[in-house]
Symmetry: D2
Subunit: 346 residues, 4 copies
């Protein structure tokens, strides 16, 4: 039985790319009311058009007591999220943390990759990893959801089914050559995101390892030294494309690999496995909550190449957060996301 509850959805960090995208999606969602959670004073002239007419609540215990929300989304830095998530939970709200602060399962891993002692290992242990295609049931009953990173979303959705089917040659390892649009670097201006630096340019900024590596290992069942990940900057606004190279234990054709993935995703509304060696481009997923996966295999050499694409701000952040909200509150998982899902660019 579907609930008809209207979810009061608080967004902390609503002026960043992910937060703003989330506010836009929440405005269209038929059973949610977006609430802007103010962490610091925001001057009138910084206000963006999509904030027009929305309720603003001070993100403090007093503010949340006076104007309670059902869920708090933290589209902020990890530092802010580490303070904000406990406050949200204490105020009786659920929390969907879009920062990276609760994605790794143990404080040890967290410290190694993020470089600090996590103040609340209990919440690390409690958090459900918000990739609905893998952890749907856990998410439904959760209090705290750690929304996946953009790079790991595209990687896990492609790699894990092959790892689970035990077709990966672990001695070869997996190479993930990832490319992201500039919105992945956030809205804050810097020399690296200056238009003149980015246009007509391309470069690698992470090499072999990246702090998203453990998030993929953890959720795809890979061990130390089995994943190599490079992050590169594309001269475009939004979208991630990951070219993933692996070797299979036994010879597999393109159709064989497609079959493994298809078996996993046949009923998933937001994952599309492309048949016949077709490879997806970024246009085909921008402004949607889709992940599309293309496959090319060479049975003779047991080599496989996967191409996995998402919109980093939607399936890689705000759209997936909304998908998680739908699960947390017993709503149809695709609510408010289907328009985002048919956005094929003409």
């Amino acid at each position: 039985m579907a609930t008809t509850k209207t979810v009061r959805a608080g967004v902390l960090g609503f002026s960043g790319y992910s937060g703003a995208e989330l506010v836009r999606l929440l405005r269209r969602h038929p059973q949610s009311i977006p609430v802007l959670l103010e962490h610091r004073a925001t001057s009138e002239d910084e206000r963006a058009p999509w904030e027009d007419g929305l309720e603003r609540v001070s993100f403090t215990s007093a503010g949340l007591a006076a104007a309670p929300v059902d869920v708090v989304f933290t589209a902020t830095s990890a530092e802010v999220a580490l303070e904000a998530v406990p406050l949200a939970l204490e105020a009786g709200a659920k929390a969907v943390d879009i920062s990276g602060a609760h994605r790794l399962r143990t404080a040890e891993t967290q410290k190694r990759w993020y470089g600090f002692d996590h103040p609340r290992p209990d919440l690390l242990a409690e958090a459900s990893y918000g990739l609905p295609e893998f952890y749907r049931e856990q998410i439904r009953g959760a209090r705290l959801v750690a929304n996946p990173g953009c790079y790991p979303t595209a990687a896990n959705l492609s790699i894990e089914p092959l790892a689970a089917a035990e077709v990966l040659d672990r001695s070869f390892g997996i190479v993930c050559d990832a490319k992201s649009g500039v919105s992945g670097a956030g809205r804050k201006p810097s020399a690296k995101t200056h238009f003149s630096q980015v246009t007509e340019n391309f470069s690698a900024y992470g090499a072999l390892f990246h702090r998203h590596t453990p998030e993929v290992m953890q959720n795809s069942g890979l061990s130390e030294g089995e994943l190599f990940f490079t992050a590169q900057l594309l001269p475009l606004h939004r979208g991630i494309l990951e070219t993933i190279y692996l070797r299979t234990v036994n010879p597999m054709t393109t159709d064989d690999v497609v079959a493994v993935l298809e078996a996993r995703y046949a009923d998933e509304p937001f994952v599309r496995v492309l048949p016949g060696g077709e490879l997806p481009d970024l246009h085909s997923v921008q402004y949607t909550n889709l992940c599309k996966i293309g496959v090319r295999a060479d049975a003779a050499t047991r080599r496989v190449m996967l191409v996995s694409v998402i919109d980093n701000l939607i399936k890689g952040a705000a759209g997936q957060a909304l998908q998680n909200m739908n699960l947390l509150f017993g709503l149809d998982e695709t609510m408010g996301l289907l328009n985002a899902a048919d956005g094929e660019r003409p």
Copy 2:
């Protein structure tokens, strides 16, 4: 008789777009040695490749006394140039000011458009306006050259010959609809120059008036209320295109207008008037010191449209500064600029 002197050319502000472009041009110039003038400490890791191996001199009286330069280029803010130009002149060097600090002839005009009292009205009066096509002889004998702004260069070269020929209908005025690449906004990161803000976007940021307006009025012989200037931001790195609308006193055809311009520029190495209604694009001037001017006229309505294009960092800044240096030191005016002039993009 050509001099064989080698010019020691100091560049203050060598890490900005104009300064860096100037250093690159000076490296290729057969009779100059670029010297990096250090105003503040620059950390090792900010050093750019085109600075490799160049002499660095502290921009102080002591520094210039120990390692004199023949000319100081100020590719800085107006504030820095107001201090630097007197110091350079006192040290016995000539000065080419690429900032806007010495372009207007009187302290009154300066104050009205730039909003401050000019500390050295004597230097305002002394400065030669560095548009060689108009003021070549003055520049040759000058001590201080005010290098023109990028927008005014494209505008003056197009408008002044028509004003001088007295063909302009002054009651109509002149509309200059100007578009510039992002490098015109400088290297400093800001929300306005963030890649994601600029890509797939276009906007006006100055309207009807702009602080470059008086620089055009002064050098094209226009009066108050005769020039309307709008500045707009193109999603590209370099280049300015100005679409200029005017009305003539008597009916003129495209060929008539071309003839007026051509009479003026027949012997100029860096100005090309296109025949037959041909209109120039930005590709045809990027990475060159050229200004190209296209013309379309409708005799029946006495309307004329001009399209004027330059590379804002070369003819609009560093290239013109080098052209001025050549004049100041008795060198061939095109020295070090011809390669820049044949850069047609394939």
Copy 3:
């Protein structure tokens, strides 16, 4: 009383940019069923994802008899539309012609600007010009709607209210400096639309006059010689920005001009007049059916600059066509367009 009819909406030319955008919008529209009208054979591998699952009907008398549609949209060349519109009307459907074939009121004007004798002057006379903000009532009762051109939509919405209020100084004329994204040139590959030709470039391709000029004169009440229109190509996919220069009869401030426009558009769902000299950019209208108009006036010189922006494929083509369909069939005018209208880019 709102109808609950479902409109069978046939799209001829569904693989071009405007046609494909229209199919996408129709898919989301709650009371329409898009039907792909096949004019020539389309091979399987040219099919685009947004065509999946849609009915295909041969665009012939027999085809339309077997599978009637309520309306035919012609997103084709003028040549194809001249044949298709009569065929559609004979089959009992209404027609919304997105080509330019029925926009001018008389065969004389048509011949002068498009260069051929119109085969059906009766249909030219019958057609309603599909700018709902001006001709809403006519459109409701029409059989044939001539959907406006993209450039004229942005121009008419800005100019006509000022012409109607008799504030324009006609002796000065109006200069419309228009800039369009590449999608305005259509999907067909050419040297002019090659990525390498367009990126980092900007150029004018129409000057002083353009075949869209009479469409603006006719609907804004301007006479011969009062409008000057230049078309320029921006290095981006979609969007039109027009910078419009005019002179008023009497001195007017920015607020005065805003008041004239605001009086006209206060109740319009898709036109926004920006207050206080604010100027709109393309990001703020892309993927929406909005037209936004910014104003800057200088009372001293009686000069006014308007900036008018639209998405050329939505308000400039497919969105406006859908708006017209809603009127033709008694549906809420904004149906299926509100999501497109809240698409502010984060």
Copy 4:
């Protein structure tokens, strides 16, 4: 002893991207005269500005007899080059084939990858592969030089030194994830190079294998099944970046790998190995004849990532062809290329 000969350099295919770039470079070269070889009639209005004033010769036996050239560059399709190279050699000229028609050593390999029987296996056997860093002495004495492909140039320069030093773990193989700007697809308009298709997009168009694969295997000493190559399209005009993944036999640090490469290239004017894990971007090689190579190694897992960048039209085509011409005629190898080599973008 340096020759003072002036080389008459004929360019066949001078209107394509590589041919036009070559004409531009030849114009600046102090000891060459570019000659445009006309294969088909070219209409006056297709002429590009960089062709102004150049001699045009009909590319026929009679034409070459009447106006002999010292070398013929074929910047054409393989089909045209297969006819043109013999004709050039018969006319007594040397030939530098920029098409792919003479790059593979045997007719068997040629047929397998290019799909046709090579008409002149003798010329395949005779041709010197024009990668000066590997085959300098052979090229000096050659009659026919097969100018390398753009992708193979970046790959061979990075991979071969490691293969030669026997540090590669052959069982792992090499993954080359390559990205190219649009100019690599040529000037001919197509759906794939339409601006609207490319902007804000990224996609893979070759996967695991590509017809450039054998050209790398042959010159880097790799065997069947050891190289996996993916080609992807960047939304920019020029530049290739290849991210290359390999495993070493024994643990090596970044410095160890740099040392192997540096030993090979210490005296090369156009190859730069970056120290300390620094990774090159495309801006740093555009408009130059440089190849820059960055290195990251993880000794623990024996993984190495290389990033190799070139300008596809210069070191990947026209610049390397000119380098080969310099060798063929006993000129300084860097003549006419040093300006191209200092083109660091400010």
